[in-house]
């Protein structure tokens, strides 16, 4: 009986609950985003060493930090899908993979933009963070393409859940092995391990605000896309039809 509750009750419950949270989350996101962008990118004095490029770094660090959350999130969602068969977890996982791929891509883009100014090159294999982010992007694209290849949504949910779990373990192994690989090849690395050490405390506060803003952005977009997915998948359910009729 409780399986039924889980399967059918959850999406509705989530839809209603998230509907109440959304305005607050969006409000907080707007505030943090505005403060972060206006203060960090406009008013904060340019770093004495890095100049204006330190502003790219604020965005880059915030997005990169957030990108690391996707595989753990998908690991948890995948476990829930496989063990408790909650449909909601799969809906979240589906959009987490897509958002994660975008975040990884933006991390790589801002990272190489920053690198083009600081290191004089758009791509640097000796930076282990860039390399492992690249492979995280590949793994996420693998999950996305597996889902689009499987027609049956139930099979796709379970298959992607399993692949996300395997992928999460793999990302951790890749991260450490790439770091190791890197320390051995660091003959002429232009990368200092702590790239932003010469920055003042204001810079860190700005970055911190930006990180919170990006996390809020991530939550809001994940919730919005999950809500759409719920309406799409539960379109035959009574409450969705009532909802559509009401609006």
């Amino acid at each position: 009986m409780w399986v039924w509750f889980f399967k059918l009750g959850s999406p509705k419950w989530f839809y209603e609950l998230s509907g109440k949270w959304l305005p607050w989350l969006i409000g907080a996101m707007v505030i943090f985003m505005t403060v972060g962008v206006v203060w960090g990118l406009v008013f904060l004095p340019p770093d004495y060493q890095q100049g204006f490029t330190s502003r790219i770094l604020i965005v880059h660090v915030a997005v990169a930090g957030t990108s690391l959350a996707f595989f753990p999130l998908m690991f948890v969602a995948g476990t829930i899908t496989l063990v408790w068969r909650m449909k909601l977890a799969d809906m979240v996982a589906k959009h987490a993979a897509i958002l994660g791929a975008w975040f990884s891509f933006i991390t790589l883009a801002t990272g190489s933009l920053w690198g083009s100014v600081m290191w004089g090159t758009w791509w640097e294999w000796t930076d282990s963070r860039l390399v492992s982010m690249l492979f995280q992007l590949f793994l996420l694209l693998g999950v996305i393409s597996l889902r689009s290849a499987l027609e049956d949504s139930d099979a796709a949910a379970k298959a992607c859940a399993l692949l996300s779990i395997v992928g999460c373990i793999n990302v951790v192994i890749i991260k450490y092995s790439v770091e190791w690989w890197n320390t051995l090849h660091q003959v002429s690395s232009p990368v200092t391990t702590d790239a932003s050490s010469p920055n003042g405390p204001e810079f860190w506060i700005a970055t911190l605000i930006m990180i919170v803003a990006v996390y809020l952005f991530l939550s809001v977009s994940l919730i919005l896309s999950t809500r759409n997915e719920i309406l799409e998948r539960e379109r035959k359910a009574q409450w969705v039809q009532d909802l559509v009729l009401k609006s």
Partner: protein, 218 residues
């Protein structure tokens, strides 16, 4: 949607009931295949599952075998949950699906040696005798890609003869068989029922087996 078989369980001792299915519900991509499906399968009975194309016969068979788990409801094996006694259930179960499980590269003997040894020890004499009974004498050592579809089906039928499994789940086993083959399979099914085993079978043939009950889907 579906009508349960007219099995009055009072006729049977409850511990003689092999499979009990209650309130089975299965939907595939928003389409309900069956709901509220109830039936009992006692020892010594052949249960024929009938229904039009797309009524979920194959899905039901796969659900009973544990190959498909997207359903609601309960299926019990001698009154207990299948998960609690998986090893005993799977060693008593023999399933032949649309894809009969015969590798085209191997010979009938090699195929049977492997597929039988997944469940129980089997000797070459048993395999030879079974192949002879299903009319494949002389084909024992030819690769299965040289055999016709009906002959490959007969290879899988040989497993029925060898197997001591008490529950057979057969999905459309008659499709490629000729008249002689149909008679042979009916004979084998009847023997299983006489020995106290049970069979779930989907087919559009009308079977001439006294122990037959019919379950209609859709």
């Amino acid at each position: 949607m579906s009508s349960a078989a007219p099995t009055t369980s009072s006729n049977f001792d409850t511990d003689k009931i092999m499979l009990t299915a209650r309130e089975l519900f299965c939907a595939r991509d928003d389409r309900v295949l069956f709901k509220n499906l109830n039936f009992d399968l006692p020892e010594g009975q052949v249960l024929q599952v009938q229904g039009s194309n797309g009524s979920g016969k194959t899905t039901l068979m796969r659900i009973l075998c544990g190959l498909n788990d997207s359903y609601e409801g309960s299926i019990k094996w001698y009154g207990q949950e299948i998960e609690d006694q998986a090893a005993s259930f799977f060693s008593s179960l023999l399933y032949i699906g649309h894809r009969v499980g015969v590798s085209k590269v191997l010979t009938p003997v090699e195929n049977l040696r492997w597929s039988c040894s997944l469940k129980q020890a089997v000797s070459d004499e048993q395999i030879m005798a079974a192949l002879k009974e299903v009319g494949l004498r002389g084909f024992e050592e030819s690769p299965c890609y040289t055999l016709s579809a009906g002959q490959q089906q007969r290879v899988s039928l040989a497993r029925l003869i060898i197997s001591p499994a008490s529950l057979w789940v057969l999905d459309e086993p008659f499709t490629t068989l000729d008249t002689k083959g149909v008679a042979l399979l009916e004979n084998i099914l009847q023997r299983q029922a006489h020995e106290g085993g049970s069979v779930m079978v989907t087919t559009h043939h009308s079977l001439s087996i006294p122990e037959l009950t019919v379950l209609s889907l859709g």
